[in-house]
Amino acid sequence: MLKYTIKRLLQSLLTVFVVVTIVFLLLRLMPTDYYFTEDELIKLTDEQKDDILQAAGLKDSAFVQLGRFYAAVFRGDLGTSRRIMNGKPVTEVIGDRFGISMRMGCMALIISLLVGIPMGILQARHKDGVFDHLGTAYTIFINAVPRLVSYSLIYILGVRLLGLPAMYSTRQTTTSSILPVVCLAMGSIAGYALWMRRYMVDEMTKDYIKLARIKGLTPRGIMFRHVLRNAFVPMAQNLPTTFLLTIGGSLLVERFFSVPGMGPLLTNSINRYDTNVVQILVMLYASMGVMGMFLGDLLMSAFDPRIRLTGKGGESR
């Protein structure tokens, strides 16, 4: 177990390293004009632009910059932002934001689990009933209508009819979080309900369930002792990743409601050629990604005794 853990962690480290290096080098292929604002592009001459890039250390060769970056990271210096907020340490830029994203994401996650899973179970138990059809219709609607459109609808409904705040505010976190959380949860509720229903319907027809029924277990008992527990195994694998990714925030929702979270930071920092921020963000996301996978495997093995994690092979499945 320990050996396996260490091996997986080392592998994860390697993955993170590869991802960060790739993105780092790709960034250096971007035109440096992104470093300038439109106001600047209209008035600066090429010579002035060169001077500014040189002062920012962006004129050196990509590999020199890469070396400098890793040396700094090794010393524990994650650098400062250049254009998200000039001179502000990247850790602070991210630190200010990810709490908000995470809180909002977790709220949405909890809501979608609390609503989605019972919804799926109910649908499965009353298969082909009215509720089932309603649930399916909801799922299809959510998946069929582009997010852009459904968010706009929620926005208009919430702001015009219910008078909810149109944008997130740090003064009234509760009311102003309602619309973004609803938007976030809306999709994943459908996802969890759909999946749960499928799983239940599948599982209920399996031989061991029949056996359990013959043994005289109540349907409720079967549900909790067998079906739900088994249903949780594949979900367990995804849960840590889902949880960790809440930190990343949602690009669309956070942009829509001006939530000062992590979502828009990534595209903004790329658009503005704020390389230090991009690199650290990528590092963060990659770490979350591999860590999520690893935790998922651990969690799954904890719930399903048939799965063993060994040092052999890269994958446990």
């Binding site: 592009l41 500014i52 400062t80 995470m102 740090t170 969690l299």
Partner: protein, 663 residues
């Protein structure tokens, strides 16, 4: 797997997740200062609070789109309107403007020159305090603070080459000092004090309240530069406290203020609140208690928020404007208010040395055509901009019409005649507000025929292909370009000239301008200081500082002798005007002649200026209005109203303003 192992795995996961969760710090509540002395503009719900007794608004709530979020709090470092519009409220310049664009004293009580503008002396107002963001006095503002400010700007390692172009072009020794610091190693550059700087650069503090600048040459317009952020002060004690890197990266809560407001709340991409500075020197000026900026996703969201009562002002998009205007029963139908022109003057900048799409081979067809004056004049007299103008101003398109190169209201003659009015008079253009006044179908036809005949003789094939580049991601640009293309078809005919709409990916400079792939650009220039030189000097032939000649028209690479002669003549006229420093009327007249010469030869074709519509609770005519520099967005002496102003009220404001201007 045994139960123990399973337990171990679970514990491990729990530990890791908890550690992650522990790292997430809950965001600190926005700091509104000690004792919460700052009233919360949103305390009473979404509606901006309004004191029932006074009709004027005490708090102002406005918005910006999130792409316009500030990137720095250091006013010396910023080169963008998005930061300057906030920061000019935080630190006072030497000189500011009134609502008519006249210069009025700010940190400088008075200013003067004794040698026709070679040296300028500013008397700094005593008793101004640097305060922190909560309004606590930190230090006195003295003349030497401007020395530290200019040293900071010119020091390559401190300000990273930002904002250097104006000072290096105007102040003695500035360019030398900049180059000197550029050669130094980074830590030496950052360690520099004032010693070397004072020996090299033409600036001195005679005493605590006397500041003297020495220009490169007599510059009668130098005070107008003193409104701009490159000549702002810096507090040495603050630089000392924060260190060089810390000062460049100063934040709203560690920087010092001298202006009418301090920033008391800042949540990136969400909200910022400016609060009245309790220690501001000018107690007589009218200020809001707080000004709140909400950062919104788009103009459409802003409109929704205005309708929900969450904003005091909103700029109208094209579709909002059309809808409201066409629907008499719309709740905002009577509240449409026309904004004042922005400082940008848009021109069709022709490219005189264009390449084909490969970026290497010269496009002979275009280059020959554009060198022909009749060809250009056919555009000048033929193209009707009206439909293009309605994209911005559907109701009064002709308000957006632009007939001069220099923006209106930049400078005036001593008898009150506005400079561009004089230019229009010389051009013989009298706009009636109904149609695009420059048009002359007969002349256009004649020039078209002449051009086709002359050019056919030179082997030019018709229709001439004109390549026009837009950003590949901008739908608005595409819509506008399509309108423009239609204008070419309607006005000049497809046998003469055809517009091709091309797209670039990211950088118009790298992808289009440097390989010279576009036939023309439509671009706006906003002045940095108040003199026609800032406009006309950009188009001269064979001069280093002529930005448009260098970056857009590429006239210096052109070969047609007749065209070059025309440009030489124009350049000479500009330089002669620039040399007149003792008689401003003569100077402006000379500039006007040069500008008329440029326009009548259609070297550049004036096209458009920006006059949009809005719904607002503020009277724009009471605001600072200057067509150069960065003072326009100061929230001082605004007239506001609890109810949105009506169109009729706004018309009255405009009329009153006009009468005021004549007095």
């Amino acid at each position: 797997m045994t139960t123990q192992k399973r337990l171990a795995a679970l514990l491990l996961i729990a530990a890791l997740l908890v550690s992650v969760a522990a790292c997430t710090k809950t965001p600190a509540p926005p700091n509104t200062g000690p004792g919460e002395e700052v009233s919360d503009p949103n305390a009473g719900g979404p509606q901006p609070p309004v004191t029932q007794t006074a009709k004027e608004l005490k708090n102002w709530v406005t918005y910006l789109t999130t792409v316009n979020e500030m990137e720095t709090f250091n006013i010396l470092y910023s080169q963008n309107n998005k930061e300057l519009q906030v920061l000019t409220n935080c630190i006072d310049p030497l000189i500011t403007h009134d609502s008519y664009g006249n210069m009025i004293p700010a940190a400088a009580e008075s200013w003067s020159t004794e040698d026709n503008g070679k040296t300028w002396t500013f008397q700094i107002r005593p008793g101004i305090k640097w305060v922190d963001y909560q309004g606590n006095p930190m230090a006195d503002l003295v003349a030497s603070d401007w020395l530290y400010g200019l040293e900071w700007v010119l020091n390559f390692h401190k300000n990273e080459a930002k904002n250097t172009s104006m000072p290096t072009e105007m102040i003695q020794g500035a360019a030398e000092y900049y180059n000197y610091t550029k050669e130094l190693p980074e830590d030496e550059g950052k360690a520099l004090g004032l010693d070397t700087f004072l020996t090299m650069v033409g600036i001195e503090a005679r005493d605590e309240h006397t500041l003297v600048y020495t220009c490169l040459a007599p510059m009668p317009y130098f005070p107008t530069l003193a409104t701009y952020n490159c000549l702002y002060p810096a507090a040495p004690a603050l630089i000392e406290e924060l260190g060089v890197d810390g000062f460049r990266a100063c934040t709203y809560d560690n920087m010092w203020y001298t202006g009418p407001y301090t920033i008391t709340t800042f949540v990136a991409e969400n909200e910022k609140v400016l609060t009245k500075n309790p220690n501001y020197w000018d107690e007589s000026c009218k200020r809001f208690d707080t000004v709140t900026y909400k950062m919104v996703e788009s103009a459409d969201v802003a409109f929704q928020m205005y309708q929900a009562g969450q904003l005091d002002h909103v700029d109208l998009t094209e579709s909002n404007l059309t809808t409201i205007y066409n629907n008499e029963r719309h709740e905002l139908h009577n509240n449409l208010a026309e904004a004042r022109p922005t400082k940008y003057s848009y021109q069709i900048h022709l490219c005189y040395d264009k390449n084909l799409e490969d970026g290497v081979t010269p496009d002979d067809n275009w280059n020959k055509a554009v060198a022909n004056e009749a060809f250009r004049l056919a555009w000048y007299y033929g193209l009707d901009a009206t439909n293009y103008l309605s994209r911005t101003n559907f109701i009064n398109p002709q308000k957006c019409a632009n007939y001069t190169y220099t923006m209106n209201n930049l400078v005036s003659f001593s008898d009150g005649t506005e400079y561009t009015a004089r230019v229009r008079e010389l051009l013989g253009i009298n706009p009636d507000g109904q149609s695009f006044a420059r048009l002359d179908a007969e002349k256009a036809q004649a020039y078209k025929a002449q051009a086709m005949e002359e050019l056919a003789a030179q082997g030019v094939t018709f229709p001439v292909q004109a390549d026009y580049y837009i950003s590949g991601s901008s739908q608005t640009a595409l819509d506008t370009a399509n309108v423009l293309k239609q204008i070419f078809t309607d006005c000049l005919g497809d046998d003469f000239c055809v517009l091709n709409i091309c797209t670039y990916i990211s950088s118009i400079a790298n992808e289009v301008r440097n390989p010279k792939k576009a036939s023309f650009y439509i671009n706006g220039w906003g002045a940095d200081y108040g003199d026609p030189q800032n406009y006309l000097g950009q188009e001269t032939y064979g001069e280093d500082n002529a930005y448009y000649s260098d970056a857009y028209s590429k006239i210096n690479d052109a070969t047609d002798p007749q065209l070059i002669d025309t440009y030489r003549q124009y350049t000479q006229m500009v330089n002669e005007a620039a040399a007149i420093v003792d008689d401003m009327d003569a100077r402006y007249e000379a500039y006007a002649q040069a500008e008329v010469y440029m326009i009548e030869h259609a070297l550049v074709i004036p096209w458009y200026k920006n006059v949009a519509w809005q719904v607002t609770h503020a009277n724009d005519y009471s605001k600072i209005y200057a067509l150069y520099g960065c003072q326009t967005n100061r929230f001082v002496n605004w007239e506001t109203s609890e109810d949105a102003y009506t169109t009729a009220e706004y018309d009255a404001f405009a009329a009153a303003y006009e009468t005021g201007a004549k007095q």
